[in-house]
């Protein structure tokens, strides 16, 4: 069996699970975000009274933090009342950050767990060796009542990534490149294990970027064997004991793909599909009205640092806005401590408080009709970040910063100081 199958089997109290089998598995952590008041409505509609375990359900207010409208303020209010009524241990209110950042910062994510959240980007937690997957409101309500969920044991696809990135190229470029090659429906209903020499030594934040965007290929979950960097990180956050499951040597993947990234260039997903990917040098000039660095894909300290290194001592193009939203308060505090926030504000950036920001078009910098936005976030669907008449270009934080500086899509390698390209 694969490590993911062993995770499912252990949570279903079975010795063996097989591909295609429908099982009921116990959930270790269930997270609800503030788009999902419906979860509470469904909970009561189905006869729910008390949640199954007040320590295993976590509410995070990130998509509407802080509330931009009266309706969203009402959503927060009703959700807070539910949290209080059920005496939930883990509640991250508007003063914390994006769920896929604050949960692992708080030590709630560890290898071998099943983490289910009302958010498609829950695949992110594969970076920690967890089985993370997204569901909708009513599925979540069934977990809040019973503590378990039905799963179809997925086919597992192996994506091997070998090599070392050149300066100015980031994990985001890697996953965009793979998306472009495989397509947005390459792994629908399937799980992905990322491996290869690039993955083996990868830092925590970069591992999360790759797993985060696995869902853009349709994946149910993503997985990476926990490396020493991940284990060291978890040790600083929790004392919880966990098991790392090994994949059996005779396990056969449903499909295998191999990528070499040694000569990879910065990549861009052009409107209006995540798999519409080209190398930046193949694009004509594209004017940029807004640049966004933030969200669960591109709002970590490393992302903000990449932007600060390009923009330090510079001024962004006067016709371009640069919106920076750190993924969490911890990220924000560190970015202040290291001077990145000062660099960015002096360069002309707009700083907003931690949360999902304009990634899903809710607030804090939505775009108008006819505007072009380059973003370190994850989706460029029509209307995703505001007007359906806007155009969204997905890129790395470095490319996003370089583009804000020049007011047009720009290769960040132009600004490398003393490095060999």
């Amino acid at each position: 069996m694969h490590a993911l199958e062993k995770i499912l089997a252990s949570h279903a109290e079975k010795d063996v699970v097989t591909t295609g089998e429908i099982i009921k598995a116990k959930v270790d952590l269930a997270e609800v975000n503030d788009l999902y008041l419906q979860t509470i409505y469904s909970f009561y509609e189905m006869g729910g009274k008390k949640v199954w375990d007040k320590n295993k359900i976590c509410f995070v207010f990130d998509h509407y933090a802080p509330a931009p409208t009266i309706k969203t303020a009402q959503i927060h209010k009703e959700m807070r009342e539910f949290v209080q009524k059920n005496n939930l241990t883990h509640h991250f209110d508007i003063n914390t950050g994006v769920c896929h950042q604050v949960m692992h910062e708080a030590g709630l994510v560890y290898p071998g767990m099943i983490l289910v959240a009302t958010d498609s980007h829950t695949t992110t937690h594969g970076a920690f060796g967890a089985f993370g997957t997204g569901v909708g409101a009513t599925d979540m309500a069934t977990i809040m009542i019973s503590g378990e969920l039905w799963f179809r044991v997925p086919e597992i696809v192996e994506i091997e990534i070998n090599g070392k990135l050149r300066p100015g190229v980031m994990a985001k470029d890697v996953i965009l490149y793979i998306l472009g090659k495989l397509g947005a429906d390459a792994c629908v209903y399937k799980a992905i294990e990322f491996c290869g020499t690039y993955i083996e030594d990868l830092d925590v934040a970069e591992r999360m970027v790759i797993c985060n965007m696995a869902v853009e290929m349709g994946a149910k979950t993503a997985y990476m064997v926990p490396n020493q960097k991940i284990l060291d990180y978890i040790k600083t956050r929790t004392n919880k004991e966990f098991e790392i499951y090994d994949t059996d040597e005779d396990f056969v993947f449903a499909e295998n793909f191999v990528f070499d990234i040694n000569n990879l260039t910065p990549q861009i997903a052009v409107p209006h599909s995540v798999d519409n990917v080209v190398s930046i040098d193949q694009l004509p000039e594209v004017r940029i009205d807004q640049a966004f660095i933030g969200a669960c894909t591109g709002g970590r300290l490393e992302d903000i640092q990449a932007a600060a290194e390009i923009l330090r001592g510079q001024k962004i193009n006067p016709r371009t806005r640069l919106v920076i939203i750190p993924a969490s308060n911890e990220v924000l505090l560190n970015a202040i401590k290291f001077g990145f926030i000062e660099d960015l504000i002096k360069a002309g950036a707009t700083l907003s408080t931690p949360g999902c920001g304009p990634c899903l078009g809710a607030h804090q910098g939505v775009i108008a009709e006819g505007e072009n936005c380059v973003t370190a976030s994850n989706r460029n669907f029509p209307g995703r970040m505001g007007s359906t008449g806007g155009s969204i270009y997905l890129a790395s934080p470095a490319t996003t910063a370089a583009s804000a500086l020049m007011g047009k899509l720009t290769d960040p390698r132009t600004f490398l100081k003393g490095e060999n390209i």
Binding site: I22, K49, Y64, T69, G136, A137, T138, T388
Partner: protein
Amino acid sequence: MRKIKGNAFIFGHNIDTDQIIPGRYLELVNPKEIAAHCMEGADPTFADRVNAGDIIVAGKNFGCGSSREHAPIALVNVGVGAVIADSFARIFYRNAVNLGLPLLICKGIMEKVNEGDVLEINLKEGKVSNISTGKSFNGEQLSDYALEILSSGGIKPLFKKITAEM
């Protein structure tokens, strides 16, 4: 299970949940208000034109993107009778079945149906009949569990039985 029969509305590949219900409407909680914006990101006239029981026909990966349950809530409450597509995104599939919205995987369906054709679906057998052209097609049969949820009218009635025994 009730008969599913209606006129076809054809959409393309990779119809994402931002097109089914744009993010700016996620603050809405009333199903009828949500339904008024159904498919607005792909066709702003859809919610006005669709009649109860009409059927959406689409290509690959219908419902990709966000996990928002607003997407099937919008489709159910605007009156869509079923969605037939080459394939569905996983979370959308689960959400739709949970809410009692019938889905059928039928490869190549877009080439077999014209906008406005009258379609009839036999969900149990996984069959689509195009009444307008007189032709029938086989889709993939749903799993027994999905059929059980759909024939109960969604997962809520099923789960009510469980909570009643708790």
